[in-house]
Symmetry: C2
Subunit: 227 residues, 2 copies
DNA sequence: TTCTGTGAACGGATTCACAGCA
DNA sequence: TGCTGTGAATCCGTTCACAGAA
């Protein structure tokens, strides 16, 4: 029963959490769904409905206590702990991922890096020693890794993901430009800047072809902008 | 009139194009909506409906000619040309973006890089000389840049995007973890691996709390898997 | 008043189902 | 027989609108 929460809702929660964290750091204590919606281009009703799946966090007439709501969201999303991740593929992209400073402050840590290349295995990249992919299963158990990051060429992504999945990983951040097959209980998120670009070019092209009505286009649902 | 094509459809087209390109390279000549759907976890009906917004590209009883359909999609998306991009923010992330090998083969080229730091301006990064952001407007016109890439800290993203927009850029790839405000006729795509991770942790956490029904969860629409 | 929480109404994307062509 | 193209039906997320608490 209960909890069949739409996936889109889950995708928006981290956005709320991020924004609330920034507001908290700026010293603000309370926010209304209207004001939060203004910042995120989301309607106030949407935000209230999303939150209502998880409980009643607001006060009528006032809004939401930022600190309180943030803590609730972190609890819901599991952000009040550290998550260990294993990276596969220590090429140029993989190295950039290891060096990316955005993960650690949010509690995500790359604790192991794997590759197949004999030249790479054994070498040090930042704080990690590159391991052979044969050791993946053992290391994942040993270091309680929950998340895999795939940064290998598209042609090898599926096999790498098979190894991750058979080692028990349930969440994969996939930088390889392919849609992969995974069991029902494994989540994959694709990070692909090229796909993002290729959908934007459609709109640039269209606007150039018919410049007159450029602004008529429907955008994502129009946010009720605050005052 | 006409063309109010849902944005989700446009987001799927590059996926189709990518897959068709791989099939073409593998020598396959024809594909059915059923087979293509199997590779992408998309229902055959969805694919046929998506394509029907743009024309009739298939042959009943046979399927789609891969080369032909790919060319059509490239035409529709504007992928049959080069696109010039300007990068703002030459920190660690910015440098990784400049060095990323995935853009060029798809016709996307970073032709200028900007920063505000006096230490960086004038230095060379790969094939580019870092320019002061004050030169952005002029360079964008000069080099016919259509796309901006933002790789600055969240706190500066909005102002950088304001500059890009006022220089005429209509598409922005935003690596900064903030939702920014842009005019109706400007497209923004966020690239944020942390948000992607933070929504997956929800499911990992949930599965651990109620392991019994882990596999019961509804996934994204179940694809009718091929044979 | 102000703003939340929520059932009901709505709207739009997905899926169905079938006519029709190869 | 096989598979496309597409109106119709369905499903599901979004928005509405209002009761009710502060």
């Amino acid at each position: 029963m209960a909890s069949q929460i739409p996936e889109v809702v889950i995708l928006r929660l981290p956005l709320y959490a991020r924004t609330l964290a920034a507001l908290r750091d700026s010293g603000q204590e309370v926010i209304s769904s209207h004001e939060l919606g203004g910042k995120l281009h989301i309607t106030p009703a949407q935000i209230r409905k999303d939150l209502s799946y998880f409980g009643k966090f607001g006060k009528q007439g006032r809004g939401y206590n930022i600190k309180r709501l943030l803590e609730e969201l972190q609890q819901i999303l599991g952000l009040n702990r550290e998550w260990s991740m294993a990276l596969v593929g220590v090429g140029r992209l993989g190295r950039a991922i290891i060096g990316y400073g955005g993960f650690a402050p949010q509690g995500f840590r790359v604790v192991a890096a794997f590759d197949t290349s004999p030249e790479l295995v054994g070498t040090q990249v930042e704080h990690l020693i590159v391991q052979d992919i044969a050791e993946l299963g053992a290391t994942i158990k040993e270091k309680s890794v929950n998340i895999g990051i795939v940064a290998v060429p598209a042609s090898h992504a599926q096999e790498v993901i098979n190894v991750l999945v058979s080692s028990g990983v349930k969440a994969i951040l996939n930088y390889a430009p392919v849609v992969v097959k995974v069991p029902e209980d494994v989540r994959v998120r694709e990070i692909d800047p090229v796909l993002a670009l290729q959908s934007m070019t459609y709109y640039i092209k269209k606007a150039k072809e018919r410049p007159a009505e450029a602004a008529t286009r429907s955008r994502q649902k129009r946010a009720a902008l605050s005052s």
